[in-house]
Amino acid sequence: MARLKYITICIFCPLILSCVAAAVERFPPPDFESGYIQPTPTTPQPRQSFYEYIDAAVLFAALCLSSYLVLKKRNRRAIFVMMVFSLLYFGFWRKGCVCPIGASQNVILSIFDRDYAVPVVVVIFFLLPLVFTLFFGRTFCAAVCPLGAIQDLVLIKPVTVPSWLESGLRLFAYLYLGMAILFAATGSAFIICRYDPFVSFFRLSGNFNILVLGACFLIVGLFIGRPYCRFICPYGVILRQLSRLSRWRVTITPDECVKCRLCEDSCPFGAIREPTANWPANVYNIAKKRLTFLILLLPVLVFIGGLVGSGLNPVTSRTHATVRLAERVYQEENGQVEGATDASTAFRATGKDVEELYEEASGIREKFGFGGWFLGGFAGLVIGLKLVGLSVWRQRADYEADRASCLACGRCFEYCPREHVRLKKIKEGISKT
């Protein structure tokens, strides 16, 4: 019997070789006579869905507590402890997945892809911080986000970043958000997850390049407060805008600003805005003209951005595996490259038509061309609005935390003498002198 099998193999080898990877029953399962009981393969189960809901509950509780500590308790030390807890729980214990930053991509994919059903917990993770930000400001960034926490912990010698550089670098975050949405919507890649610099630390293993990237962020983070949060984080971009509208927000002083300037340098994230002088009347006309020009420039920038974004579709669409495969197969068919990749071999083994693949790829490329208008237009809009924002004069009487940039870390609280009065560390009346 065994010899028979051996001979069969030898004879049919060339024939069998021709159909790689197909599961064919070449040898019928034997009938055992010795009473042998066939084992079944083991299937260790994944973490139960029930536990995911616990994570969502912990997120909700953490957001509530964080908001309470920031707005009501105003205690940096308590916020710090909360932050360490979040880092340990959402970071090291849950290994950084699911996180609200990455969850945004699942929600986007679910909107654009009919076949993808997003798990409820992921929607909750995406939504809760946004809703909390609408009410309380960026308390998620303050003490719940593990990515923020790990950067906040290493910040030992803050250096002030000039505001022009800060705004310039921040544009990258907007672009990153736009790209993340485009790539998620087309089902190409989840770039936020792929290039998450800290998740390798949470897992204590991972891609070497990403580990190096994470280390770079932490080293830079020793001197520049939370570089990922301020210049890269795409979710932070959404939180910034929602935080502008928040019902309640962080104030440096618990009651009134005495303009003592003590808090001026307390913020490592450059989020404290000084009181402004009165509007200089002599430049009013020039400023008005400039603002009109910039507002008129806005649609032009959007159009140019859209044109560039759409024109880049041969490059951007290459993130999609099907487009890459189609290009490779095309090159192989036309003799532009020698040999075959794993992907093109696997494609040929399925026996699908090449033209069908090309058609699918060009469909995806069209999607990128269309989506590129939105991505580029969005980039143009962001740049234009930034220019408009710079030209608008805003009057401020007090030292204030910038609604968008303030990460609600609570560092500035103890700098305010009114805070010391509130805590009854010094007597009322000192500020009045």
């Binding site: 599961a23 042998y36 869905s49 798990p119 409820v120 997850c193 792929r194 509208l245 019902r247």
Partner: protein, 188 residues
């Protein structure tokens, strides 16, 4: 002064309006996705009928030792004496000696059942998910050896880094209550 007050009210009105719009927008997004969202979480799994055993599973996983392991569907196995999932391409002899084995870590155990049948079992603690045996079994045998994401190890990353590197698109998200795709005899 009155004008100034007016200005503040207008600003407040606008802000409230935007605030409401944002809340409504978030509600809209939830409404849009909740129609087809499901309570069940999803996990990553390999479709064994698409897998080409390229070997990426062993190297691309974020875990140092991949979460992907070889699984043996005994019901599909032919219990061959000469197993090309077990023996190297040109074995010196047909036996369990290390030099004859295909598996780089010796994770496949071969035990005699009855003449002429042998049972092959995978020692998961040794398996690295390289898929060499899978290729051998698919090419010459019934294809009863195949790769699966083992969910006691998998971290269930939002974007599986092996899925991103998979050349045949064999990775897919499956509901967490049916986390395995075990090969069967009657598969079309």
């Amino acid at each position: 002064m009155a004008e100034n007050n007016n200005d503040v009210t207008r600003r407040h009105f606008l802000r409230d309006g935007f605030w409401g719009a944002c809340l409504a927008g978030l509600g809209g997004i939830v409404g849009l996705v909740s129609r087809k969202s499901r309570g069940q979480n999803t996990v990553w799994q390999i479709d064994p009928y698409k897998c080409v055993a390229c070997g990426n599973c062993a190297t691309y996983c974020v875990l140092e030792e991949s979460a992907v392991k070889c699984v043996h569907a005994y019901a599909v196995c032919g219990y061959c004496r000469i197993c090309f999932g077990f023996l190297g391409p040109q074995p010196f002899e047909i036996n369990e000696a290390a030099e004859n084995q295909l598996c780089p870590t010796g994770a496949i155990k071969r035990t005699f059942v009855e003449d002429p049948y042998y049972e092959y079992t995978i020692d998961e603690s040794l398996c690295i998910g390289c898929g060499k045996c899978v290729k051998g079994c698919n090419t010459f045998g019934n294809g009863s050896l195949f790769l699966q994401v083992r969910h006691d190890r998998c971290l269930n990353c939002n974007e599986c880094s092996i899925a991103a590197a998979c050349p045949s698109g064999a990775y897919k998200r499956v509901p967490a209550d049916k986390p395995y795709i075990i090969k069967r005899v009657d598969h079309a």
